[in-house]
């Protein structure tokens, strides 16, 4: 896998150079590799993320049944779990756009998007699915765009096959070899700017058998933004390349806007619900210390890998990475979702809310029982 990732990094470097190769791999200096089946086999937290791989020497599945149109959703919604027990051909369409939207009340920003929103639309497929991916670039776009899906095994994660001029549509097909939760993003030069403008999202590759059932699933994705004006400066704020290079974020946001997950937009659950959050970090620069104030994650799949950790307070999510967190909500109230690099929360916008309704649970959390003065010793 490490070697495979190296190849993809090389491909990304080529793209940064503006290398346009939609089919050829002649410029790739590393040999092509078919990743071997994990010999030891992942430990199956049945029915968790781990799953058996086909035993044939070359990994691969044959799609069955009629082609399916893949369901995609806007954050914070997540497509319904997959109830198929066979690999299918799934057709997914995504359109890149460049449009002015509010990044905060009174502040506009020219976002570049996958599907008209930041983060981009959430895609959900099954391990072994053959995905026919259509990337359309809106005719009003100024820029060419492409897509690097971390769920793809192959050069550029699809980026070398999806370099799309404004008004054009490109198609490529990949097989989802590995289960997991993966970031996708634009990888057109200058890559950092395309990501900084919001071109990222998540694709979930379910293991056969799916994920354990929960009551609520949410899609939350962090990103850092760089504007020439300071936080909250009004009007249309241009992107600041200088601040982006200095990693001096003006905004650090969940779901692309100050307040995307607060007030009326807060995530909602009921006491007793099992909640799963698919949490991604688009970056481009910052690592997230993801935390929900007043909750403990019963399970975290760190880096969205196969194995889970239990009883976690804060989990680290790399730029260009993701995690799945699960917890049951026992006590009603408002739970604040933060990047615990906490100045980002109070000064740069990384604050969301989970509102939990239902009956109080005083045995678990009493609420304030008293407030009195006490006799303190004088300080020395």
């Amino acid at each position: 896998m490490t070697l495979n990732q190296t190849i993809m990094c090389l491909a990304a470097a080529a793209l940064l150079a503006g290398c346009n190769s939609s089919t050829s791999t002649s410029e790739s200096s590393a040999p092509s590799v078919i990743p071997e089946a994990n010999a030891a086999g992942p430990i199956a937290f049945a029915p968790g993320l781990a799953s058996a791989l086909p035993s044939s020497e070359v990994r691969g599945w044959t799609p069955e049944g009629d082609p399916i149109t893949g369901e995609v959703t806007y954050a914070p919604d997540v497509p319904a779990p997959i109830d198929r027990d066979y690999p299918a051909k799934v057709i997914i369409e995504l359109e890149t756009t460049e449009e002015v939207m509010e990044i905060a009340d009174g502040t506009d920003y020219t976002f570049w998007t996958f599907g008209g929103a930041v983060p981009g639309k959430f895609m959900r497929v099954r391990q072994g699915d053959t995905v026919e991916f259509h990337l359309k670039n809106h005719p009003d776009s100024k820029m060419p765009h492409n897509i690097d899906l971390h769920a793809v095994t192959g050069p550029g994660g699809g980026a070398t096959s999806t370099f799309t001029a404004p008004g054009h549509e490109t198609v490529f097909t990949f097989q989802a070899l590995n289960a997991g939760l993966f970031v996708y993003h634009c990888a057109t030069a200058p890559v950092g700017m395309h990501i900084a403008n919001g071109m990222y999202g998540l694709i979930l590759v379910e293991p056969p058998g799916g994920l354990p059932a929960v009551d609520k699933e949410f899609y939350v994705m962090q990103g850092d933004f760089y504007t020439t004006g300071e936080y909250g400066a009004e009007g249309l704020q241009p992107f600041s390349m200088d601040k982006a290079i200095d990693e001096d974020a003006t905004y650090v946001l969940f779901n692309g806007r100050v307040g995307a997950l607060t007030g009326d937009n807060a995530l909602k659950a009921e006491v007793g619900d099992k909640v799963r959050m698919f949490v991604g970090n688009g970056g481009p620069n910052l690592i997230s210390s993801f935390h929900v104030i007043g909750e403990i994650f019963d399970k975290v799949y760190p880096e969205a890998g196969t194995r889970f950790q239990e009883n976690v307070q804060t989990t680290l999510i790399p730029a260009g990475g993701a995690a799945m967190v699960e917890f049951e909500v026992e006590v009603p109230g408002t739970y604040i979702i933060v990047d615990h690099s906490i100045f980002r929360t109070f000064h740069k916008g990384s604050l969301g809310m989970l509102q939990v309704g239902g009956d109080e649970a005083p045995a678990i959390y009493s609420g304030q029982q008293s407030d009195t003065e006490y006799e303190a010793e004088p300080l020395k």
Partner: protein
């Protein structure tokens, strides 16, 4: 008619000068660009309409699919009329490389080369070479913060050092060798292509990393094929300097 065209399409002399390609080949870190003539303004819808009227093979209902994709001139009301929503004096867009070449050829001109275009475009209003002037670069980048395809009439802003208008801030523009800096479709598998020039060295060797707009132009050009049209891609013509009489 000819006089009319000449007035609208007056050229100015640009160069000579030095241009540093973003991904230079060895020994080509600086390219000397001889002086040439370049349209002061981008070709407008009205000018292109006149061309199409004189050369009906370039009407959108006549043009072969090899020479222009489906978006060719699709902002026009009809194959031979602009309609009310198209600004006559605005830069034409939705034109393929083939069509742009044909237009220039009809004027005894040609498309500028990438080196010529870039030489002209690195000038600010004050300097011939502002390629390291942060303010100039920021102005160019600002265009990318404006979404959509709103344009102004050509020659609306201030001309640059050479007397050329709107090289930045209106539409992308075709260059004759748009595919030369990259691996083009036709030579993608060609072993003679110097791959390291384009890919292997990556961004690390880019000669002027602060010029992000140049990265974008390369990315944009490399997304194109000769039949491509996009709503924000226009062109202007160039010409060699007239040979001096012996």
């Amino acid at each position: 008619m000819k006089i009319f065209l000449l007035v609208l399409a007056s050229m100015t002399t640009v160069g000579p000068g030095l241009w540093r390609p973003l991904y230079p080949a060895e020994g080509e870190e600086e390219i000397t660009v001889p002086a040439f003539e370049l349209d002061e303004a981008a070709v407008t819808h009205r000018q292109f309409l006149e061309f199409v009227q004189e050369h009906p093979e370039w009407r959108r209902d006549n043009v072969g699919s090899l020479f222009a994709d489906e978006g060719y001139l699709d902002s026009w009301a009809g194959p031979g009329e602009l309609g009310s929503s198209v600004g006559r004096g605005h830069p034409v867009s939705g034109v393929s490389w083939w069509a742009a070449r044909a237009y220039c050829s009809s004027r005894d001109a040609r498309l500028p080369t990438e080196a010529e275009w870039e030489l002209a475009a690195q000038a600010s209003t004050e300097e011939a070479d502002a390629s390291e002037d942060p303010e100039h670069l920021a102005q160019i980048l600002a265009w990318y913060s404006r979404p959509g395809n709103q344009t102004d009439p050509v020659a609306h802003s201030e001309p640059n050092f050479w007397g050329v208008y709107d090289l930045h801030g209106q539409v992308w523009e075709w260059v004759d060798d748009y595919a030369s800096a990259l691996v083009a479709n036709d030579n993608r598998e060609d072993g003679t292509v110097d791959i390291t020039r384009f890919c292997g060295a990556g961004a690390i060797t880019a000669s002027l990393k602060i010029d992000y707009a140049a990265f974008m132009r390369i990315a944009f050009r490399s997304s194109l094929q000769a039949d491509s049209t996009t709503r924000n891609l226009g062109f202007r013509c160039a010409r060699d300097l007239p040979k001096e009489a012996p």
